[in-house]
């Protein structure tokens, strides 16, 4: 179990002349939650897209189970067990729970010469899979996904990924749009996925959520890995500072202070702050 399932080694990505990611090396093991922290524009989404096969790295290698691999398409990555769940569950609001659970892999049964979509079976499996994650409120597979709460949708999407044999679960800001209670719910499901031996990559900019579930943390700043540490090695303040740009923030504070002492405590006009 010591070997990471998924590993990035010196990965760079640029779009034309713009460098988005510099020299990223990361690894995630089975039964471990890797939290990827970073401000908006830090390159988190690009990194997710490389991990899920949407983009290919400009240079550097991706290793899966220690073997170098190229994800030619998102489909190929998901066939290998890498599953991405997006902020709103990436689901179809006007489809039933059963139907959306099985999009692309619908169960069918024979009816005379026709093969027809097996609604009962789809609903049963979907409801069971979600309930196993502790969402007992979902008991009718005919309900529309759009009628579920944000947390329930995330749970449905995670349950779906696990059901279809995901080994690596990439969660893209799953708690960003949720209330406190629902976020706690999703975090519990992240822990459940970890318990089942999945490797979870948890992308967020909420430090508290990350600290609650994470085993291993990586902070991205302007496309580079600014810190890579394990649970308990840094405090919340340190991480928040890091994410906010650390030094840049301290410089700004000093600038404001010096202005205030020179101008009888007034805040500086915006134009003076560069």
């Amino acid at each position: 179990m010591a070997e990471p399932i998924l590993q990035l080694s010196n990965v760079n990505k640029s779009f034309g002349p713009i460098d988005v990611l510099h020299d990223i090396s990361l690894a995630v093991k089975a039964g471990e939650v890797l939290c990827l922290l970073g401000d908006n524009g830090a390159g988190k989404s690009t990194l997710i897209k490389i991990l899920s096969g949407v983009h290919q790295p400009t240079s550097g290698t991706i290793l899966m189970d220690g073997e170098p691999i190229q994800f030619a398409s998102p489909r190929y990555a998901s066939d290998l067990g890498i599953s991405t769940v997006h902020q709103f569950g990436g689901a179809f609001p006007l489809m039933s729970i059963g139907r959306s659970f099985f999009v692309g892999v619908e169960p069918t049964r024979k009816w005379g010469p026709f093969s027809i979509y097996d609604r009962r079976k789809a609903n049963e499996i979907a409801v069971k899979a979600v309930q196993e994650f502790g969402i007992t409120r979902i008991d009718d597979g005919d309900r529309l996904v759009g009628g579920l709460s944000g947390g329930e949708r995330q749970s449905l999407a995670i349950a779906r990924a696990v059901h279809f044999g995901a080994r690596v679960l990439i969660l893209d800001e799953p708690t960003a749009a949720l209330g406190v209670k629902e976020a706690a719910h999703v975090l519990r499901i992240v822990l459940e996925a970890r318990k089942r031996g999945l490797a979870v990559i948890f992308i967020t900019h909420q430090v508290i959520h990350a600290l609650t579930v994470g085993d291993h943390f990586a902070v991205l700043i302007r496309g580079a890995l600014a810190a890579d540490f394990r649970k308990g090695e840094k405090t919340r303040e340190e991480i928040t500072d890091l994410m906010a740009g650390g030094e840049a923030m301290a410089e700004l504070e000093a600038e404001i202070e010096s202005y205030q002492s020179a101008h009888e405590g007034r805040a500086p006009p915006v134009a003076d702050l560069r």
């Binding site: 179809f92 006007l94 139907r99 692309g104 027809i116």
Partner: protein
């Protein structure tokens, strides 16, 4: 009406929870709004249209209109559920009419050749639409607006070059006429049966085969659908080819029915089919709808369209009624969709 009141009081008393919940299930289906609309419109014209409206002749008059619109509305509805629009059908219909009339009427080739050529033309236009929509990522409304005009111009130009006129006569043999363009019992168009068949096929595709799930997913969220492994490009192309084929079929049957073809006869189908589909509860932006709803919506539209002639009102009011009906239908469908979304089963 009486039974409705009984049901409500019974449900309030809590004595028939099963009946209440099964009504609840019905209310959350996409076609419920269009069904109620259809019943209301039928009742309206049955009352104001006099005895003639409910005779076989009256029924035939709206069924005939419904069948022609319906054959086009079904694939247009599928496309709309998949998040696309096809308005090029307005040119494909006359183009197919002219193709079959020119080949089998003007040049006197076997009727089969003309029919196959016309249907092939429909498939080809659909294929081109599909490929353009996929390759250019231009909204399908714009792409098919382009092909609407392109095909119309092509039809007119070729017709003038080949036949020297904008209308061509065609004499079909009795068999072809019996299959494609005849009045059964003197008043019911044979297309009614084709419409029924098409509704069954499309209904199977959308609601019972796994491809229906692909279409719904495509309209719900194209990127997620693609990531889930659905061959989105192929599905979109096939759906456009389906609407091209059905439009061409209507064009062929019109040519055989009226024994002639004109270069400009299909434009009314564009809005009529879209109106029927929307009244039928299909969400214009895709992801939601049902075939039964589309059929109800088509019938509703046809009843209003034809029923006005049975009333004492000036036929000019028909468009007003259709406009109001469309808005009412959309609002009602929105309400029912919200009910479906916010539905949560009662805690036991």
């Amino acid at each position: 009406m009486n039974s409705m009141v009984e049901i409500q009081t019974a449900a309030k008393a809590g004595s028939t929870p099963n009946l209440w919940s099964s009504i609840g299930i019905l209310m959350r289906r996409p076609e419920v709004g269009s069904f109620l609309g259809m019943v209301a419109v039928f009742a309206f014209f049955a009352i104001f249209g006099g005895a003639n409206f409910v005779t076989a002749g009256g029924t035939a008059s709206w069924l005939n209109v419904a069948s022609e619109i319906g054959i086009v509305a079904l694939p247009v509805g599928l496309l709309m559920i998949a998040g696309e629009l096809d308005i090029s059908i307005g040119s494909v219909i006359p183009a197919a009419s002219m193709t079959v009339a020119t080949i089998s009427g003007y040049y006197d080739l076997p009727i089969m050749v003309g029919v196959l050529a016309a249907l092939g033309l429909g498939l080809l236009v659909g294929f081109i639409n599909g490929v353009l929509v996929i390759r250019t990522a231009v909204p399908s409304l714009i792409v098919t607006l382009g092909s609407l005009f392109a095909v119309a111009g092509l039809t007119l130009g070729v017709a003038i070059i080949l036949t020297g006129s904008t209308g061509v006569a065609i004499r079909a043999d009795p068999l072809a006429k019996a299959i494609l363009g005849q009045f059964v019992g003197g008043m019911f168009q044979v297309t009614i049966f084709w419409w029924l068949g098409a509704a069954i096929i499309v209904g199977y595709l959308l609601h019972f085969s796994r491809y229906g799930n692909w279409i719904l997913a495509l309209g719900g969220d194209k990127v997620s659908a693609r990531n889930a492994g659905i061959p989105t490009d192929r599905v979109i192309t096939l759906l456009f080819m389906g609407s091209g084929l059905c439009a061409a079929f209507v064009g062929v049957s019109q040519a055989l029915l009226y024994n002639s073809a004109q270069v400009s006869t299909g434009q009314s189908f564009i809005f009529n089919s879209i109106i029927s589909v929307v009244i039928g509860g299909v969400l214009l932006t895709g992801g939601f709808g049902s075939v039964v709803g589309i059929v109800f919506g088509t019938i509703t539209f046809a009843i209003v369209n034809q029923g006005i002639f049975y009333t004492g009102f000036d036929a000019n009011w028909a468009s007003l009624i259709i406009g109001v009906l469309l808005l009412a239908a959309v609002l009602m469908n929105n309400t029912f969709r919200k009910m479906a979304l916010t539905y949560t089963p009662k805690k036991k």
